[in-house]
């Protein structure tokens, strides 16, 4: 038997072992370079101090500082503000799940034109968060935004002087939500909820489509209706939708960056910072790059996210074991 024939038959015999790798390698290599490797590199960098520069001979100017960056983080009030705001986002963002369910229940009818209504309700999710941020920034504007105008209509008197200029006299000035350290974060979260509610709504609308009609009928025969029906018959069947809604909402809350960058840039006085934005601001700031410290913040955010990722993977693993 000549060599070529053996090679050929080896390929043939192991066809089913080699083929998956041929299909996998392009995606895997690409994903490894841009996603997997950078995760480890970031964690590694968090033990360095580095301004992102290289020496003439191409070596990095990074200096090993051990856990110094993490010690600095511990004493950094901005870090704690950001962490606290992240928790606030997580907590309040969860409102998107029940509100999304409520709207889905309201819309789960079959009157004419319902499809158009459902898609129009879904609209906010399709729009870029940058645009949502701009819309709400303007919405909250105390001088000419919706909030300001409503306030003026309710609490202000309009006076026109001789020259014809309009001025307002208010019993209390209209609230400037985004400039107030106490309320700005709530204002941004409310804006962020808008698209997130739309997302949860669509998950529930699809879920409601798949609710078994016979179980609803059986429930009706047993005299269940309204809340009891919702709680005992419908919600258990919506569990997969609820699971996904919670997962995407948690991820959305922890990823919040665009809205903050657009609406307040972390201000006033850092009061609306979250880890995602603080990390960006630190790593690429006008005062020079601080890659090491930024990476330490990113690592903390990553570890928080890892809790959810592990939970999600664990759930998937349970499903896989149950399946084929």
């Amino acid at each position: 038997m000549d060599v070529k024939a053996t090679e050929h038959s080896w390929l043939l015999r192991n066809k089913l072992k080699i083929a998956p790798w041929v299909f996998l390698i392009p995606a895997l290599a690409f994903f490894a370079v841009y996603v997997i490797e950078p995760i480890f590199e970031s964690i590694w960098l968090s033990f360095y101090e580095w301004n992102g520069l290289y020496r003439a001979d191409g070596t990095s100017t990074a200096v090993w500082v051990g856990v110094d960056n993490y010690i600095k983080l511990w004493d950094d009030p901005k870090f704690w503000t950001s962490l606290k705001n992240n928790l606030l986002w997580l907590l309040l963002f969860m409102l998107a799940v029940p509100i999304g369910l409520m709207i889905a229940l309201f819309l789960n009818q079959t009157v004419s034109g319902m499809r158009i209504y459902k898609s129009l309700f879904f609209f906010p999710f399709v729009i870029s968060q940058v645009v949502v941020g701009l819309i709400f920034g303007w919405f909250y504007n105390p001088d000419f935004g919706v909030v300001g105008s409503v306030w003026k209509a309710l609490f202000c008197e309009e006076t026109i002087n001789i020259v014809g200029n309009v001025s307002f006299r208010c019993s209390s000035p209209p609230p400037d939500i985004l400039s107030s350290p106490e309320f700005a974060t709530y204002g941004i979260i409310a804006a962020g909820l808008w698209p997130q509610i739309a997302y949860c709504m669509i998950l529930y609308l699809t879920g409601l489509n798949n609710v078994a009609a016979d179980q609803i009928e059986a429930g009706r025969l047993d005299g269940a209706k309204g809340w009891r029906m919702l709680w005992f018959v419908v919600l258990p069947q919506l569990r997969p939708a609820t699971f996904i809604a919670v997962v995407v909402t948690v991820i959305g809350a922890l990823r919040s960056f665009d809205m903050i960058a657009i609406m307040t840039q972390g201000g006033p006085f850092g009061s609306t910072n979250v880890l995602a934005y603080y990390m960006y601001e630190t790593a690429i700031s006008e005062y020079g790059e601080r890659y090491g410290y930024g990476s330490a913040i990113a690592t903390v955010l990553f570890l928080i996210m890892l809790i959810y990722i592990s939970y999600f993977l664990w759930r998937m693993y349970q499903d896989e074991k149950g399946g084929r």
Partner: protein
């Protein structure tokens, strides 16, 4: 069906419901309607403080033309297309191959590899930021269109693979089995048996990834410096600074940035929703 269909509750309830619907919708979309109303006003209206009353004059065409003539909006818009289309094409095709491999072949690391894609898809962007930026600078991809779409393509491959693998796994396995018994080569099975069957998944992924990448703002800031490679989302922010107090122009620019995903969504609505949910809610 839950809640009880409104038709069964009598004509009064049905008419009440149908009257209530547009009312609730208007409240829900109020921010969007307000910004649209602003985008068709003239600058004079805004300066006079007439933001909510009936417009003094309609300036829709003037405003939208002004956005393009008085700024670099058209360049940003083209950049967005140049970034988004290759991202979709690359990530969806790579994920087809990878999803096929992970769904059809039984090998020991199939599940761990699958989980790697899933996990990677959920990580916060910030953990990737410094290394990706540093690498882009070193290989000359920083501040380029290619630098952005290569990253997006790689990142979205995670989500696409999750989606494709689950979709292919749900196909009847007998099809592949019988093709193998017939002696059909593996890549021909992929091309002629599996690929035609996953067309709905391809459409769903394409619209979803289009929307995700089009709406990206973070990477546009991390991977670009000047104006020449910025997509429309970052461009709108720049315009916001340029058009200070010209709210009618800012509004028009924002709506222009929002239009392509909205059109995509309306054209491919069924696929879009299937994509959002099927990847997860089976």
């Amino acid at each position: 069906m839950f809640p009880r269909p409104i038709e069964k509750a009598g004509p009064g309830a049905r008419i009440g419901y149908q009257l209530l619907l547009p009312f609730v919708l208007i409240i829900w979309l109020l921010p969007l309607l307000a910004i649209f109303a602003t985008s068709i006003r003239s600058g004079a209206d805004i300066n006079a403080g007439n933001v909510f009353g009936w417009p003094g004059e309609f300036a829709m065409i003037e405003n939208y033309v002004a956005v393009f003539t008085r700024s670099q909006a058209s360049m940003y818009f083209i950049n967005s297309i140049l970034i988004t289309v290759p991202s979709v094409a690359i990530s969806v095709s790579l994920a087809c191959l990878a999803g096929y491999a992970l769904a059809i072949y039984r090998f020991r690391v199939a599940l761990p590899l699958f989980f790697l894609f899933v996990a990677g898809n959920f990580v916060p962007f910030q953990i990737l930021m410094v290394p990706v930026r540093d690498m882009s600078v070193r290989v000359g991809l920083y501040d380029t269109i290619a630098g952005q779409f290569l990253f997006h393509a790689a990142f979205q491959t995670g989500f696409c693979t999750l989606f494709m693998r689950n979709f292919i796994k749900a196909l009847p396995f007998d099809l592949i089995e019988s093709a193998r018994i017939e002696g059909v080569k593996e890549w021909r099975i992929f091309w002629f048996v599996v690929l035609p069957l996953v067309r709905p998944a391809l459409a769903a992924l394409a619209v979803l990834i289009f929307t995700f990448v089009w709406n990206d703002f973070f990477w546009a800031n991390v991977l670009t410096q000047g104006e020449s490679a910025k997509p429309i989302t970052a461009g709108v922010r720049a315009l916001n600074g340029q058009f200070v107090n010209n709210w009618h122009l800012v509004s028009a620019a924002s709506l222009i940035a929002a239009i392509p995903p909205v059109i995509m969504f309306f054209l491919m609505q069924r696929h879009f929703i299937a994509g959002l949910t099927l990847g997860a809610v089976k």
